[in-house]
Symmetry: C2
Subunit: 332 residues, 2 copies
């Protein structure tokens, strides 16, 4: 059985290191061939060892108590905090002789990006981006790049993201020519902000890409494209707005079920929760780096950690990140 | 009974002038005190007169056959097509002696913006923006400004939008101090793209505004703020993404209902359709102009046209634009 070694940053989740550790313990149970290097406060691991039934032979601990908060400048955080858990995790995963498949961190997104560029950039010094895989109306997934790493982008960066996203979809879903769409405020080539208008002809001229034109926000989840390219600000809006709308609808259905005394409505709420639970997806994959870096959401719970561990292991093995059994019920 | 006179641009909807005219006929039935100046192809009105039961004494027709398409540059469209229906409609509504309450157009958004600035700007030459009223989790509405008029914005424009949105919510919903949020990729004041970071301190320092800080995309519909400020590109994403997610969910529930043979699921789908039907909201209100200009969606059907006529009439009368009886069922 192939052995998988990963690095897990215990710090950075709003829910605290105990929750991240709980996620790790669940991942251990699911993957008997998994070893994890935990970067964070040692005493948390020791104190929870028995309760969580941790097999310490599969664990290495790197002590870290410092974190780069969401209020800090990512660049100065990376430069001035050599003992931050994120920095130590990145240095560890970069040790080629350790043969890690990748790392997971729920920390400051900007700092993960800066750190990846500083410690784990590939030979081309690619600007990394974060991809999010969104469930779409075709029952498949759309790769959103950038989902929030580079907030202000250049057209050259968007061009690079289009390639990184296409590579991901080729590798993971065996899509030979992933359809690339450019997120805009209208389908016509004349629509867009300055950045989109500048990027459109670049994508159009690149014959290595299967560029299909602008995609409007209402088609972001339609499955019309496999890769949806945008700057990190817009991508973050798509990702979080989708999550917000899902939450709003589900909350409404639950209330309606109680108010009208119709327990069967809860089956619909449960379906939506399972089929579109972006929280459970766990986070995004940093593309363009030497090692796989998974960005877990800042509000990651143990479920998110175990899901993102599964994503990392599947991705490393070249398998599709996840099948969505729930969406099969309706969407396909 | 107070008489209302409005101008309606028959051209610009994907569904054709017949559909817009059908919407007008429904508005006539709902508001016996309504007169409409129709700007568009006269022969369409004449040919449909009997079928739709149009009372020609309440109709004035301004002949127009030219339109500014979504593929055209809005500025050159406005400047070079003096006979475009949109241009004629704007000139007509600006005739003070005619005493119109406002106009409705499903045409090119950019051209509406340019035209409003040229023909209908207020004494301060305010940069107009389009507001969209989005149903939120508190059972009320959030005013999104700008919803897609000015795609590339300056911080000064966002500042102005914050005031225009606040004025709207004061007038329509009698909210004394509307809470203003700034759409960003994180709640912290340090988060945002260049524009957001530049705008934050300006909104914070303006004591006439009730600025509550950054709002993330997953809170856009939470009801945490009354006015959500962003550039037109981001606003268009929020608006259209919300619509796209709603459509995806509803479609899934309908499929699930059939597949599992559970007709009661359709009650949930119908509830969501009614409560969150952005299509039915019909469009946005242009703020910062001398006359009220309602931008109907490009895919407006007759229902959207009648709804937006109702919005215009209610707004002119200082009444809340719409109550949402459906959302009462669950959300309040």
């Amino acid at each position: 059985m192939e052995q998988y070694k990963i690095v897990l940053d215990l710090l950075g989740s709003d829910k605290g290191p105990e929750t991240v550790l709980l996620g790790a313990s669940l991942a251990f149970k699911e993957f008997p061939n998994l070893s994890i290097t935990l970067v964070g406060p040692k005493e948390v691991v020791i104190s929870k060892k028995e309760e969580l039934g941790l097999d310490m032979s599969r664990i290495k601990i790197i002590e870290a108590n410092e974190t780069i908060s969401n209020y800090e400048n990512p660049y100065t955080g990376i430069m001035n905090k050599p003992n931050a858990s994120l920095v130590l995790a990145m240095k560890e995963v970069g040790q080629e002789e350790e043969n890690y498949i990748g790392m997971i961190s729920p920390g400051n997104t900007g700092a993960i990006l800066m750190g990846s560029f500083r410690f784990l950039s590939d030979e081309n010094k690619t600007r990394p981006c974060i991809s999010a895989l969104l469930p779409n109306a075709k029952g498949a997934f759309t790769c959103l790049v950038d989902a929030g790493a580079t907030i202000d982008c250049t057209s050259g960066q968007l061009h690079s993201f289009a390639h990184l996203g296409s590579d991901l979809m080729r590798k993971m879903y065996k899509i030979e020519k992933p359809r690339v769409g450019l997120l805009s405020n209208g389908a016509e080539p004349t629509k867009g902000n300055h950045l989109v208008k500048e990027t459109y002809p670049i994508l159009e001229e690149d014959k290595e890409l299967n560029f299909i034109g602008n995609i409007e926000g209402n088609k972001a989840l339609s499955g019309d494209c496999d890769v949806l390219v945008c700057d990190g600000f817009a991508g973050n809006q798509v990702l979080k707005n989708t999550e917000g709308v899902a939450k709003l609808f589900i909350t409404d259905i639950v209330k309606l079920s109680k108010k009208k005394n119709k327990p069967e409505y809860m089956e619909v709420a449960n379906y939506l929760m399972k089929a579109y639970d972006l929280g459970a997806l766990g986070g995004g994959i940093l593309l363009g780096t030497r090692k796989i870096i998974m960005k877990a959401r800042g509000n990651s719970d143990e479920r998110a950690i175990v899901n993102i561990s599964r994503m990392l292991i599947n991705y490393a093995g070249g398998a599709a990140v996840f099948d969505n059994e729930y969406r099969d019920e309706a969407a396909r």
